[in-house]
Amino acid sequence: MSKKKKIDEINVILLRQEKAKVIRNLYERQLKLPLVDIDLTLDEYLKWEPNPDEKKKILTAYNETYKELPIHLDIEDRFNASLESGDIDQIKESLGQILSIENIKLEKKINILERSLEADPNSAEIWEIYVDFADNNIHINSTLERIYKRALKTISSNIGFAIKYLRVLEKNNTEPEELQSTEFMRRLII
């Protein structure tokens, strides 16, 4: 075999390995998340993956995620039942319980809050819970700015949201001209 042919063959193998790595990474990212169809994703992965070492590694990740699954199932059951009730007191109660659980990720809690808003985007009560949660748990000013802005867009009469929004804009060094450029800020100023 000529040298060039050998190099070509090696390049083909390397390219295939690189492509396999992309797919494997996607499976790995997904299997590290406690999602409803995690078992089926694992089955799909095991059928696809020919490399036993990689299988072992990803199975370990899956097992870790699997341990978290019961708590997520419980959260989903509790949250969905409260949403189905359509009763704001039940929703508030389930949100209070879920948001106080310590060993789940912040992103999951935000997901639950966003899904509450999905059920009713203009609920002042849910926005109050969301803003309160953001105050105590999110420490990135640009993120807070966006949450307050959304809350204020929806519930523009809430002076508490407006003050929080103005404070975070101040921290983010927003120019006064920019501040006054939006209609809802003009209304606030008036």
């Binding site: 797919i23 990212r29 997520h72």
Partner: protein, 231 residues
């Protein structure tokens, strides 16, 4: 244009769907547009449609003062009927800027909603229809980004980059279909698709029921585009 267009997107509530089947991609045409039912063609003036110029001027004047959502939607319907994209954009931008509720309200009560997900889906669908050149089609991806940032609900991710995203799932599905269509007709490269789908993964990956959706879509795309490297 048919005001019910958004209903033709076959957007079902997949949030409750728990099956793990390989999903069927909705068809796209050769222009990268999502195929929908044939629009009703209205080739007329505002007058022929019963919306005289005077009436539009009056609506516009009132809208400028009140920024009322119902007025905005009436104007949007008039301009949609006339395929008047410039005025559609102007009214929608103004509507979006002023989408205020004057007061909060009780959970579940029927009050006028702000610029809603349905408004966004209609806007996106209209712009898809009007986007003819590659430039315009690429610009659509920016509009999808805006829509994903503005629409309420679902999950977010990426605190590491100091960003908080929230997005509507139906808008996200439309974005995924659209970018795949752009790839099929050669408007965007593979990286454009993977970038968009990765963004959507980040939007939704913490959603228990829907989190897998865009992982599957991206894997399917990678396998289709690359051939299966393990075969």
């Amino acid at each position: 244009m048919d005001p019910q267009n958004t209903e033709n997107l076959e957007i079902e509530n997949e949030g409750k769907q728990q099956e793990h089947e390989i999903e069927e991609e909705e068809p796209e045409d050769s222009q990268g547009q999502v195929i929908e039912e044939e629009d009703e063609v209205i080739d007329g003036t505002y007058q022929e449609n019963g919306n005289g110029g005077q009436e539009i001027l009056a609506l516009e004047a009132e809208f400028r003062t009140t920024h009322d959502a119902d007025l905005a939607r009436r104007l949007i319907e008039i301009y949609r009927d006339a395929d008047d994209i410039a005025n559609l954009r102007r009214v929608r931008e103004t509507f979006l800027e002023h989408n205020l509720l004057l007061e909060g309200r009780e959970f579940g009560s029927k009050m006028r909603i702000i610029f809603s997900k349905e408004d966004w889906l209609q806007w996106l669908q209209d712009e898809i229809t009007f986007a003819k050149t590659d430039e315009e089609k690429k610009a659509m991806l920016k509009l999808f980004d805006r829509a994903l940032e503005e629409t309420l609900c679902n999950t977010m991710n990426d605190f590491s980059k100091s960003k908080l995203f929230w997005a509507d799932f139906d808008v996200a599905k439309l974005a995924a279909k659209y970018v795949k269509g752009l790839f099929t007709n050669g408007t965007v490269r593979k990286n454009g698709v993977t970038l968009t789908l990765n963004k959507l993964i980040n939007h939704f990956c913490f959603d228990f029921n829907r989190g897998s959706k865009f992982f599957k879509r991206l894997r399917k795309f990678e396998l289709e585009y690359n051939d299966n490297p393990n075969e």
